[in-house]
Symmetry: C2
Subunit: 372 residues, 2 copies
């Protein structure tokens, strides 16, 4: 194996693929990146049991890839990344000098890195499932931003650590919940398709990082995995086993109170009460009357905060409701609009946050019981 | 106690004083800032057993301080800082509303913070010792930058966790060592004075953070403490007990090899070998001949690196020496010059780094023994 390539584009590809390598895997070789040099292309592969990334680099003017000798090798991701990053050269040379010992050089500096032979790397099946559809990068990124943050980080109920994507005809429902809050986004697809899968939130964030703009992304789905084709990069994620609960019945249809407010005003007011938090959580109380809306919080030990909120509009009578300040801020931040509409059923009922002109997204939060 | 003050300058003073408060102190009240409102001034005090900071705020046009009622209170530093930072107001109002419960408000928002009565706070003796001298902020900052980084962070030998300042006549010697390396800076003082004190490096960094420019700083010294008067801020540090060893005899007088090199070239070359590090340390080998200078490093497990260094000048024969890459980079970075002069005695002897035109600063590093 021997090739040279422009540092900048090589480093970009290595960082993108390297994110799938894992230093925690029971299989030590999975902390590496596999380099495959064949038929005038350089293919980079990294994988743990959870996510696999493959990038195919074709020689072009931008990357200046020149292949002198085919072959393959596996190099520890963090060392090869560090070596390429630190070399002060426009063109990087890489070659196997002895067995799997690989030289990476540029200018007057060189690294010799102990690698592993390519045939030691497990074979990753990247076969493309037949069920597939296209979506724009910006739309996919928006779906991820508006749902994945809600997912649970605890493995107690694995199904809640991912976003559920359910396609039925041309409608795609994306839903996430951690059982205390819920996000639901509905988009139309260009083809009729039918699937019901749950994808780990952490893998969706990797997909989101790889999206550069408004490129068309192909998503291919089987009952075992999902693939995201983004430019020359293929990200393949496992699915989460288990049935995602039907959450549609949790979203109320009728409301007794409606608050329209500038998003940034509410974020700032709730954030001001956040110094009373412990372990990242704090409870905020909203007290509304037709005349005045007050946001307050309280901690026996530290003290209290209180302020008057100036809404754009409030319809309804007296309402007193407590909720997690962190959850409300995160839900508000998922909206791109300047104003939001918050709809309450009653004091101990779930409330929803909506975009005033866009019905495709709904955020739901369960209230907290307080003792004062 | 009741006053109002401009948010911006108040927050600045609070952060500066708050750095001396400690959440780890066995005395819980020391996690607070003491507010003293007397005679048209607001005095802020914070202290742990190690460092004390006092700032006196006189009403002026910049801070808009208006005192309505004298008094004092102690408030938890992190809560009062967070409250003032989060309030979206130009002017902050602060008043005791009940016992030690203190209201901090601005605009339509307010915080009520549980405080402690002022007389519960220990009395800190800020009496100014008679032995004192003046120094410019930039000069003091330079002394700290060029010595304190060398100090040990381990409490095994407490005397090595501080910088030793020894004044004799008008000469001030500032020396730091962790027993593997040494920094020595010599400056002239405007007065004849005599002392020998060791000041914790961490406290010197607090002093450095408070220096804003080229203000004149008064340093007052007793055999128990040292005080730094920086504008309206007084920083008082304990001294480290014990005799600082005489290290002058460790600095060689005669050298067999002299390397002059562009500082940035050597930093980059040594940094390129740093991906072989474990726990922040890595060993670098320098091999010099009259024709070529090679920087290399090696790790049994990971691999090796090697590169050719282009010096400005090298005088001496064949030399092979190994040292800590981290120590060399830190020593090099303490110089402001573009080039540095490295002088070697021999293979297993300490070597020194000097500024080509400024003899006031010397950095010394002990070599490492390697087995190859």
């Amino acid at each position: 194996m021997k090739f040279n390539i422009k540092k900048q584009s090589f480093y970009k590809s290595l960082s993108s693929v390297g994110r799938a390598s894992s230093t925690h895997s029971p299989l030590p070789i999975l902390s590496g990146i596999k380099f495959e040099l064949r038929n005038n292309t350089l293919t980079l592969i990294a994988s743990d049991s959870n996510i696999s990334i493959r990038e195919v680099i074709y020689a072009n003017e931008e990357n200046n890839l020149v292949i002198h000798e085919e072959g393959d090798v596996v190099l520890e991701a963090r060392y090869v990344l560090e070596a390429v990053r630190k070399l002060d050269a426009d063109i990087i040379n890489m070659e196997i000098i002895d067995g799997a010992l690989t030289r990476i050089s540029g200018n007057q500096a060189e690294y010799n890195i102990n690698g592993t032979k390519g045939d030691q790397y497990p074979i990753i099946d990247f076969t493309k499932p037949e069920k597939q559809f296209e979506i724009s990068g910006s739309k996919l990124s928006e779906i991820i931003s508006q749902t994945a943050f809600v997912c649970s980080t605890s493995e107690d109920r694995p199904i809640f650590t991912g976003v559920n994507f359910k396609a039925n005809g041309t409608t795609l429902n994306s839903v996430a919940t951690d059982s205390y809050r819920l996000a639901k986004k509905v988009v139309e697809l260009p083809v009729e398709i039918d699937f019901n899968i749950s994808v780990p939130a952490s893998n969706l964030y990797e997909v989101q990082k790889t999206i550069t703009g408004d490129e068309i992304i192909t998503i291919a789905v089987s009952d075992k995995l999902v693939q995201f084709y983004i430019g020359e990069t293929l990200i393949q994620s496992r699915l989460i086993d288990g049935l995602f609960p039907d959450v549609n019945r949790l979203i109320p249809n009728e409301y007794g109170f409606e608050l329209v407010v500038k998003k940034i005003d509410l974020i700032n007011a709730v954030d001001r009460s956040s110094f009373l938090k412990s372990e990242g959580y704090w409870t905020v109380k909203l007290e509304a009357t037709p005349d005045e809306i007050i946001i307050s919080s309280k901690s026996q030990e530290i003290g209290s905060s209180e302020e008057i909120l100036h809404p754009i509009n409030y319809v309804g009578g007296n309402l007193k409701i407590s909720f997690s300040g962190k959850y409300l801020i995160e839900a508000l931040k998922s909206f791109k609009s300047e104003t939001v509409k918050i709809m309450f059923v009653g004091e101990m009922q779930a409330f929803v946050i909506r975009h005033p002109e866009d019905d495709s997204i709904v955020q739901l939060i369960l209230p907290l019981r307080t003792f004062d």
